[in-house]
């Protein structure tokens, strides 16, 4: 429990837990919010990025190639598409998906590639905002009590590139690691009234200092404190408490990574526009498919539950789910006796679900070994332009980088028009 008794009256609190325990479908409190959100015509689009850190192998997932792939393929609900047999639940949901098989990007070391995959730009002296930070700015509401961008991960730190860069700390991701505890330290160490008094005193004592400096670190600090305080006081922060979720629902998402995906769903339901969630430990499998063997089943379980749940709640049309890592894997013909799987950025796959896209498509074609693009290369900039367009973000908009330099959200990229929702 994360200290909500401070925020709610005792009765509300007990009622809430009881409802959660009794309800087989939805915990009582989240339902009205979600229903309202689903009905509202003004609901913004949302996005969940399911991140496979280290690089998901296209050969062992969505671009199966006989003679190369280490696993067998199975039919899916999308005629003509076969995917890895370790993904049976997703196979039944692929009619909601469009697969992009010809991602072709510029980086092949993890850090630089993850930066590129998050920002759409190669790493340089200026720190660029991630897609999540852009979504936070473009889709988020300033008065929304939760962060408009959350990053759920079991990695030691947030994936490289998942920062707000020159958009400032107001759009920085809320990093979440320990899911069982929800957000740590959400409860004040003193009574809420006393906390408010302290906070008010802080503002009064610090005012002069801040006004005299007009400096970014000072403004950043005060903005971050404000965000933290709003978070402490918000009703929506209950979304972070997985113990309010019915047992059955928790089970359907599986392991600890799946619980992160469940948390992502809860955040989307209360209106967070952008959530990134890491599934699996490291997918950085250099020889063979051991890690894929380990992490594909939990991915299958969690992602299929997410798609089904959002669909049930009428939120799938407004929620784009993106499955991706920083690159794919390179492999050779199995008859060569090599199970090598190296970092591979020349041709790799990403998958989109929901978000109102024209589903049921396969974009691009790779060669026999899924190593090179034969048709329709998709650059990271094309990919970003596509995602932005789906989310209703004008990717040609210019933001201002340090030094007053105007920088377009996506430079030199063209959306994959055949995927875009009918407008």
């Amino acid at each position: 429990m994360i200290g909500l008794e401070q925020l709610l009256s005792r009765r509300d609190f007990v009622g809430c837990s009881a409802a959660a325990a009794a309800s087989a479908s939805l915990s009582g409190w989240i339902h009205p919010l979600a229903a309202e959100a689903a009905q509202s015509t003004t609901r913004h689009k949302s996005c969940v990025v399911v991140w496979t850190d280290g690089g998901l192998s296209q050969l062992e997932s969505f671009d199966m190639k006989p003679g190369y792939s280490l696993f067998d393929s199975i039919e899916t609900s999308l005629p003509g598409l076969r995917i890895c047999d370790r993904l049976p639940k997703l196979a039944a949901l692929m009619h909601h998906a469009t697969v992009i098989r010809t991602m072709c990007t510029e980086e092949q070391s993890h850090g630089r590639a993850a930066y590129l995959a998050h920002t759409g730009v190669r790493r340089g002296p200026v720190v660029y905002p991630s897609l999540g930070a852009i979504a936070s700015m473009e889709l988020g509401k300033p008065d929304f009590p939760l962060p408009n961008y959350a990053c759920i991960t079991s990695l030691r730190h947030l994936p490289t590139g998942s920062r707000s860069g020159f958009l400032g700390p107001g759009h920085a991701p809320l990093g979440l690691r320990n899911l069982e505890k929800g957000i740590a330290n959400l409860r004040p160490a003193v009574q809420m009234q006393q906390f408010d008094d302290r906070y008010d005193l802080l503002s009064r004592l610090d005012k002069g200092f801040a006004e005299d400096r007009k400096a970014a670190p000072v403004a950043g600090h005060l903005a971050t404190l404000q965000r933290a305080k709003r978070l402490m006081q918000s009703q929506e922060s209950k979304a972070f408490d997985l113990s309010l979720e019915p047992e059955k629902s928790r089970e359907s998402y599986g392991d600890k990574y799946g619980q992160g995906v469940l948390l992502a769903r809860r955040l989307i339901e209360v209106g967070v526009p952008f959530v990134e969630v890491t599934v699996g430990g490291s997918w950085d499998n250099h020889s063979g498919a051991e890690y894929h063997e380990r992490y594909l089943p939990p991915l299958d379980m969690a992602l299929s539950s997410l798609i089904a749940d959002l669909n049930d709640r009428g939120l799938l049309d407004t929620t784009l789910i993106v499955l991706m890592g920083e690159f794919g894997r390179g492999g050779r013909k199995l008859t060569n006796g090599s199970k090598e799987r190296n970092h591979w950025n020349r041709a790799w796959s990403t998958v989109l679900f929901g978000g109102g896209i024209k589903a049921g498509q396969i974009i691009g074609k790779t060669d026999d070994g899924a190593q090179y693009v034969e048709d329709r290369p998709v650059s990271i900039r094309d990919f970003f332009a596509t995602i932005c367009s789906i989310l209703g973000i004008d990717y040609t908009k210019e933001n201002t980088a340090p030094g007053g330099r105007p920088i377009r959200i996506v430079d030199d990229g063209n959306p994959i028009t055949e995927i875009l929702p009918a407008s």
Partner: protein, 513 residues
């Protein structure tokens, strides 16, 4: 560049020079301080920018403590410093701090993580290396000598020679991967990483430049000393190409932008490179160090980014950079000398407050830039207040809180702190504001301060001196008197706890101004 074939150990001609410079260090440094101020003023005048006034004693004291020792001053030191009417007290303080062992530790905290990256797979024993670095900085080893030793370190084990930590940790795969990048960016201010695969987009570096440097470091290998654990193993020269370097392109070792020296068999090529790199005439070496030291105190370099001082990026103050570099070389690469010159300058001692007309100044130094505290500084400040972070278990991390993972927690995936950008997120703020352990330690601190305060006014002074290193303003005293009255029904311990909490979370405490 010419090199006598077959040399193995360099004799340090600069050592005696540097001692000479030290003897005369004080006046030389003051001379250089004046030069800094002249050059800064000239650019301000040209831009028509008004400069903020000199910082008061309290602002200066806190700043110079944080910058030199990585921690704020103790309350009694603040009181004494504010009391003193000695006109030389600032200069004397700078000298005192340079002789405080915390100085070397602070410098090691800055340089250590730059030299041994967190992501390094083969971890050398970091503490040994950090301790060694701290010692070198405290002894004020001339910079050329220190870097020479890092580049050429040889030893049977990390215990026997901790300096091997730098290369031992970065030589894990093909040396160029990490070692080359670190050597050029950290010591030469040159980023040739991109040239590993293609031509540098903004400079004329080529793949040959990249592999030319890299291949000085391919004839070194880890030792296999009996009885030494693998991560403590040493580093030694090997005549043959080492195993991990066989994938490096066959480019003859070549100085950056220079010639390929003749290398005799049996000579460790690292010595040849180090000789070139740390030479007084090397066009990159001293300049890069001066630029980094400037950035350490002002949050930004005279050329930015400090890792990539390519020609196309013009310095904001070209003549100043040139003169500082000359003087630094002339001093025998004396780091204390450079620090003294910077810290005694009026430019460094300006207030961080804006004055009418300089609100938008980012690069003219019309006022002191406000810097973020580094994770190490924040850690030290908490420790100094008795709010020990080490006692915290699992603060949203997978491990107990050590300085190292506190750093990871706060940097949130970045390799280095960025001085002028606020990076903490709401979860960090929640941690500091609400963590139960910190809350209970704050109570202890309040009780402790209360023992030496007789009146509420004294208690407020103690709180301010301890947390913010100054006395409260008249207005703040009034605000607090009112606050105390409004809380007359609460226990005084609670109320002073509120005040302590408010000061600890103020932006004033959180930044170095």
């Amino acid at each position: 560049m010419r090199f006598a074939p077959g040399f193995s150990v360099r004799t340090f001609a600069t050592l005696s020079l540097s001692i000479a410079a030290l003897a005369d260090g004080q006046s030389g440094a003051q001379e250089l301080s004046r030069l800094i101020d002249q050059e800064i003023q000239a650019r301000l005048d040209a831009a028509g920018l008004p400069a903020s006034s000199v910082a008061d004693d309290a602002e200066f004291l806190r700043r110079v403590y944080l910058d030199l020792l990585g921690v704020m001053p103790p309350a009694d030191r603040v009181a004494a410093f504010l009391e003193s009417s000695d006109p030389q007290k600032r200069t004397e303080l700078i000298d005192d701090l340079l002789n405080d062992p915390k100085y070397g530790r602070h410098m090691a905290n800055i340089w250590g993580p730059m030299l041994i990256l967190e992501k390094t797979f083969v971890r050398p024993p970091k503490p040994l290396f950090f301790d060694w670095l701290a010692k070198q900085f405290n002894q004020n080893r001339p910079w050329d000598e220190l870097v020479f030793e890092l580049l050429t370190a040889t030893g049977e084990s990390a215990q026997q020679n901790p300096a091997i930590g730098f290369l031992a940790s970065e030589l894990r795969t093909i040396p160029p991967d990490l070692a080359t990048n670190l050597i050029t960016t950290r010591f030469l201010g040159v980023n040739i990483e991109c040239a590993q695969c293609h031509e540098h987009p903004f400079a004329s570096w080529t793949k040959d430049d990249y592999w030319g440097v890299a291949n000085f470091f391919t004839r070194v290998k880890r030792t296999k000393t009996a009885g030494v654990k693998s991560r403590y193993q040493g580093l030694m020269h090997t005549a043959k190409l080492n195993r991990v370097s066989t994938r490096a392109p066959e480019v003859a070792p070549k100085f950056l932008g220079g010639v390929a020296p003749t290398l005799d068999d049996g000579v460790d090529p690292r010595f040849v490179f180090a000789e070139w790199a740390t030479d007084a005439k090397n066009p990159f070496f001293a300049r890069a160090k001066v630029n980094r030291m400037w950035a350490q105190f002002f949050g930004r370099g005279l050329v930015n980014p400090v890792d990539d001082m390519v020609e196309s990026r013009k310095p904001t103050h070209p003549r100043l950079l040139e003169r500082l570099t000359e003087e630094f070389v002339r001093s025998g690469f004396d780091v204390h000398f450079l620090v003294r010159a910077i810290c005694n300058s009026r430019t460094y001692q300006r207030t961080s407050k804006v004055t009418k007309g300089n609100e938008d100044d980012r690069e003219f130094y019309s006022r002191m830039p406000v810097k973020m505290l580094t994770p190490e500084q924040l850690w030290n400040c908490y420790e100094a207040l008795g709010l020990e972070l080490t006692e915290i278990r699992n603060p949203n991390l997978h491990a107990d809180l050590t300085l190292e993972n506190f750093r990871t927690l706060l940097l949130n995936g970045d390799e280095e702190p960025s001085a002028l950008e606020y990076k903490h997120g709401a979860t960090h703020a929640l941690f500091f504001m609400n963590h139960v352990h910190l809350a209970s330690r704050q109570k202890v601190l309040v009780r402790q301060l209360a023992t030496s305060a007789r009146t509420p006014a004294e208690m407020i002074d103690r709180l301010y001196l301890t947390v913010l290193s100054r006395y409260p303003t008249t207005q703040q005293r009034e605000t607090l008197t009112e606050f105390l009255q409004s809380k007359s029904e609460s226990s005084s311990e609670d109320t002073y706890g509120d005040i302590l909490w408010a000061l600890l979370h103020s932006s004033e405490f959180t930044v170095n101004h």
